[in-house]
Structure formats: structure tokens, C-alpha cells
């Protein structure tokens, strides 16, 4: 009833004419119909997208399967989906894959979290001490353009072959770009927001806690998302170099013994776990930025 009343007054203002009850009802149902047709159009669009996505996947897997079975491609090199599924199922049921998955996920999460924490802390230090940021600017630029995985051998020599050095490689891949991204965001924050708290006599710590950090959450989250991918690069390369356990080790081992089913099925596991990690970050994003958005 309320809604209709407000609509009537809006309509009066627009047309400036006297309203007849029947006309008003017509308009209401007309607008309702417009909305319904808009919703059904959007609905159809989403359905079409989902159908196309599934069709593409089925087509790809089906073609691959057919090509492998009929020897259009060399099944020794390219394997095919049912062989991979068989391999995965076997190693999952006999339990032999889980230590590899556990090891790699542990390394990735540890390297990812350390890179993020260290990168954010370094960004905070650079923001807090402008002198430091001037001093370190050229070094950061050089470090950022250097391929960090190339440091792998040095970590292995220094930290020993194993978990620690792989975490170190992973961290080194993410930490510099994290520092630069977040520090740049810290510096870009609108001077007006800073002025607001400075006018209330805020200390530098309060300024950081009340403005700089919360205003940077969106950038921190998007850096996290990019880092999920980067961390996997670090872990897999690290495992290529040194590991005796892990999905990267399985890939390099499968390559050496010419078992490409093992290589490709390990890749499938990596894709699945990486997707789960990405979704966890997306959940964190919704939690941190609940309610607000940039204007």
C-alpha cells in the first residue's frame, strides 16, 4: 500500500495530470511486467553461460579421450582423461598421493602466508619511515624485476634441501611484489581522509590503523589473489629443484620415468587445490569488506 502511494505521488509530479484509479493500476502491472521480463532475460543469460561452460568442458575432455584412445595423439605423451582418473583414484584409495598433496599444500600455505605477512610489514615500515623508502626504492625495483626462482639454488645451499628452502623460494616469489603493491596503495590514499584524522590530532599509529590499513584492504585482497598463483609457481619450481615429496616432485618424477599420466593428473590436483585456496581468499574478501565499497 505504501509503495503504491509513493508511486502515485511520483507519477503526479511527473505528469502533472489527474490520476484515474484504473490507469494507476495499469502502470503498476506494466512496470511489474517490465521487471519480470528483465529478470527472465538475465536468468536466460546465466543459464546459457553455464550450459556453454559445461559443454566446452565435456567437449574438451571427450575429444581428448577420443584422441587418446584412437591414437590421434600419442597416449604415452598426452595420456587421456580416463587413464588420469584411474591413476588418481588408485593413488587416492591406496593413500599414496596424500603425503604429496599435504606436503605441497603445507609449503604453499606457509610460503604464501609468510610472503604476505612480511610484504605487508615491509610496506608498513616503508610508509612509516619515508627515509627507508627513499633508501630502498632502487633495490626494490631491481629485486622486483629479477626472477626470484633463480635464487632457489642459494636457498637450498643455505637452508638445506627440503621444506624450509621450498617455503623460502615461495616466499621470495611473492614478497617483493606484495611490498610494492601495498606500499604504493598506502601512498595513494586520498589526502582528504588523512586530513580528517590529522585534524582530530591522530598519532601516526592511529592514522595507520584507522585510515591507511582499512583503506588498503581491497588492494591487499587483490594482491592475495595474485599471490595464490605466484605461490604455486614458487612451490612447484622449488620441488622441481630439490624435493623428495610433493606434487611438483611427482611431476618431475613422472617426467623422468616417462609417466605422463602421473604428470597430468598431478596438474589436475594442483588446479583443484589452487581453486580452493582462491575461494578461501574470496571468502576473506567478503568478510573484510562487508557492507562498504568505493563510491
Amino acid at each position: 500500500m505504501d509503495k503504491r502511494d509513493s508511486m502515485r505521488s511520483n507519477g503526479d509530479g511527473d505528469s502533472g495530470s489527474v490520476q484515474i484509479a484504473g490507469v494507476k493500476e495499469d502502470r503498476l502491472s506494466w512496470m511489474g511486467a517490465l521487471h519480470a521480463s528483465y529478470r527472465s532475460r538475465m536468468h536466460k543469460m546465466s543459464a546459457a553461460v553455464a550450459v556453454t561452460q559445461i559443454a566446452l568442458l565435456v567437449l574438451f575432455v571427450g575429444l581428448w579421450e577420443a584422441a587418446g584412445r584412437n591414437k590421434w595423439i600419442d597416449p604415452l605423451l598426452f595420456s587421456y582423461p580416463s587413464k588420469m582418473a584411474d591413476q588418481l583414484w588408485r593413488t587416492m584409495t591406496d593413500g599414496s598421493i596424500w603425503p604429496h598433496v599435504g606436503m605441497t599444500v603445507g609449503e604453499t600455505v606457509a610460503g604464501f602466508a609468510l610472503g604476505m605477512l612480511l610484504g605487508t610489514s615491509m610496506a608498513a615500515a616503508l610508509w612509516w619511515f619515508p627515509f627507508l623508502s627513499r633508501v630502498f626504492d632502487p633495490y626494490l625495483v631491481v629485486l622486483n624485476s629479477m626472477p626470484k626462482v633463480a635464487l632457489g639454488p642459494i636457498f637450498i645451499v643455505a637452508l638445506g634441501p627440503g621444506f624450509i628452502s621450498i617455503v623460502a623460494v615461495t616466499m621470495s616469489v611473492t614478497v617483493i611484489i606484495t611490498t610494492l603493491n601495498i606500499y604504493n596503495r598506502f601512498r595513494e590514499i586520498d589526502a582528504g581522509f588523512i586530513k580528517v584524522v590529522r585534524l582530530f590530532g591522530a598519532s601516526r599509529g592511529q592514522l595507520f590503523r584507522l585510515v591507511i590499513l582499512p583503506a588498503s584492504f581491497p588492494v591487499i585482497i587483490s594482491t592475495l589473489k595474485v599471490n595464490v598463483g605466484l605461490a604455486w609457481v614458487g612451490v612447484i619450481v622449488g620441488e622441481f629443484l630439490v624435493a623428495k615429496l610433493g606434487l611438483g616432485y611427482l611431476i618431475i618424477y613422472g617426467f623422468q620415468v616417462f609417466n605422463f599420466t602421473l604428470v597430468l593428473s598431478s596438474l589436475v590436483v594442483i588446479a583443484a587445490v589452487a581453486t580452493v585456496m582462491y575461494q578461501l581468499v574470496a571468502m576473506l574478501e567478503r568478510k573484510l569488506t562487508a557492507g562498504w565499497r568505493e563510491r
Binding site: R198, L199, L210, W292
Partner: protein, 265 residues
């Protein structure tokens, strides 16, 4: 007047220094603002209006001279002075209520009691049920009202208004001028308004200071008629003497614009 001024500028000069050189923004400003008075600063762009407000707020120290608040030199931002910016700069990640309370939080005075005052203040400014909403859900005029609540929540004695109405639509702007004027009068606050809108200055103020530029200095002072002062800005705009005051300010500002002055830089 026998009463000590609440705000006083003594021989105030300010030089901005950067990599390109130094420029004289203000030279030898003297100004006394009495308690409860509403003073406006008008002048051409580059006359140092905002510099004067920043110095009054204690954002940075003047190069030469003193800013006295209640007879004491201003050393930094304090809760005795409230400042309203041209844009609201509400934090998008905070609710309206938390935005309005940010000053209390910084000065360590955020308690259930003071939060009640914040709620009352929001209601008084016409935002009774908006406390839990976020800034992007509000219109420009409502957001600027929240900014006013944020400024008033810390109970400042002096309000510095840095063109707070200039980014609003005319209709909203006139309403908000009335609201601010009424709120400050009721609370007996002292206010200094910086504006480039002469009509706004004439409608709201007790006294208008016209500044000249290169360097920024006081050119003249226009005391507004008693009859205009007594009325709300909206009502004052309708009186014939308002037009006369406006034209007088206009003439003063034109005269200011004609003078070049020496450029230091």
C-alpha cells in the same frame, strides 16, 4: 570589547617551501574573532584562505607570528577546534555512526555515553535512522551532514568551515547553510568560514574579511547589518539590504583583483 577574543591571529606570515622554491602565501595577518561570532574569509583564488584555516587548526606552524586560541598559542590540532572540509571524506568502510564518532575514538573519548550523544547529534541533523548505514547509501547533502556531526561530536569551541557547501547542489546547499547556521547559533559556537561564494558569506556571517593575493593579506573588513545577522541565511537572502551587502562585497573583491602585488617565488 573587553572580552578576550577566542581566536586571534598576530602578525601572521606563512611561506611555503618546496623543491621549486619558496612562496609567500600570507603576510602580516592580524585578526580577532570574538566568542560566538561568525566570520567569513573571502578572496580570489590563491589568496591563502585555506592556509589561514590550516594555521588556525594547527595543521602546521606559521613561519612568523602566532595563532592564539583562548589566549594560548596553538601548537597542533586540538579538540577545541573542529574543521569541516569541502568534501565529506567519510570513510567508506565505516558505518555512519562510526564515521561520526571517529574524532571521539581518536581522542580516546568513545564511551557508551558519548555514542548516545553522537546518536542524538545525528537525529538533530536530520539523520535519525542512518547510523548503521554506509556512506555510499547516502546523498551528498546527507553525507555533508554526517561530516558536520563528526565535527560537532568532539564538542569544539571553534568551527573552521573550508568551503563545506561548495560541492553541493544549490537547493541542498541553501538548506545546509540554514542547518549549520542554526546549529552553531544554538550551541553558541564560534565559526570561521572560507568561501568563494559572496552571497553565502553575506547571508551567514556577522563579519566578512576580504583578502587580497600575492601575498595573501587582509584588504578590508565588512561588518554585516544587524538586520541580516539576526535572520537565518535563507531569510536574510530575501531582504533588500542583502543585495546591497552583496554588491559592496563584490566591489571590494573587484578592487582586490585589480591589484597585482609582487610575486615572490
Amino acid at each position: 570589547m573587553a572580552i578576550a577574543p577566542v581566536l586571534e591571529l598576530q602578525q601572521l606570515s606563512h611561506v611555503y617551501v618546496n623543491a621549486k622554491g619558496a612562496s609567500l602565501a600570507l603576510e602580516q595577518l592580524d585578526l580577532r574573532v570574538e566568542r560566538g561570532e561568525f566570520v567569513s574569509l573571502v578572496g580570489p583564488s590563491g589568496c591563502g584562505k585555506t592556509t589561514v584555516l590550516s594555521l588556525m587548526a594547527g595543521l602546521f606552524p606559521p613561519t612568523v607570528g602566532n595563532v592564539l586560541l583562548d589566549g594560548e598559542a596553538v601548537a597542533g590540532p586540538s579538540s577545541k577546534v573542529g574543521y569541516m572540509l569541502q568534501q565529506d571524506f567519510l570513510f567508506p568502510w565505516r558505518t555512519i555512526r562510526d564515521n561520526a564518532a571517529v574524532g571521539l575514538e581518536i581522542s580516546g573519548r568513545k564511551t557508551p555515553r558519548t555514542m548516545e550523544i553522537v546518536d542524538e547529534l545525528l537525529a538533530e541533523l536530520g539523520l535519525p535512522d542512518s547510523g548503521q548505514r554506509y556512506p555510499h547509501e547516502l546523498s551528498g547533502g546527507m553525507r555533508q551532514r554526517v561530516a558536520l556531526a563528526r565535527t560537532l561530536a568532539t564538542e569544539p569551541e571553534v568551527l573552521l568551515l573550508d568551503e563545506p557547501f561548495s560541492a553541493l547542489d544549490l537547493h541542498i546547499k541553501l538548506q545546509l547553510e540554514d542547518l549549520v547556521h542554526e546549529t552553531l547559533t544554538r550551541r553558541g559556537k564560534t565559526a570561521v568560514l572560507v568561501t568563494h561564494d559572496l552571497a553565502e558569506a553575506a547571508a551567514m556571517s556577522d563579519r566578512v574579511i576580504v583578502l587580497g593575493r600575492n601575498p595573501g593579506r587582509i584588504k578590508c573588513e565588512v561588518v554585516i547589518d544587524e538586520e541580516l545577522r539576526a535572520l537565518s541565511p535563507m531569510a536574510a537572502r530575501k531582504l533588500p539590504s542583502f543585495q546591497a551587502t552583496f554588491e559592496r562585497l563584490w566591489a571590494e573583491l573587484d578592487a582586490v583583483d585589480d591589484e597585482g602585488g609582487s610575486y615572490n617565488g
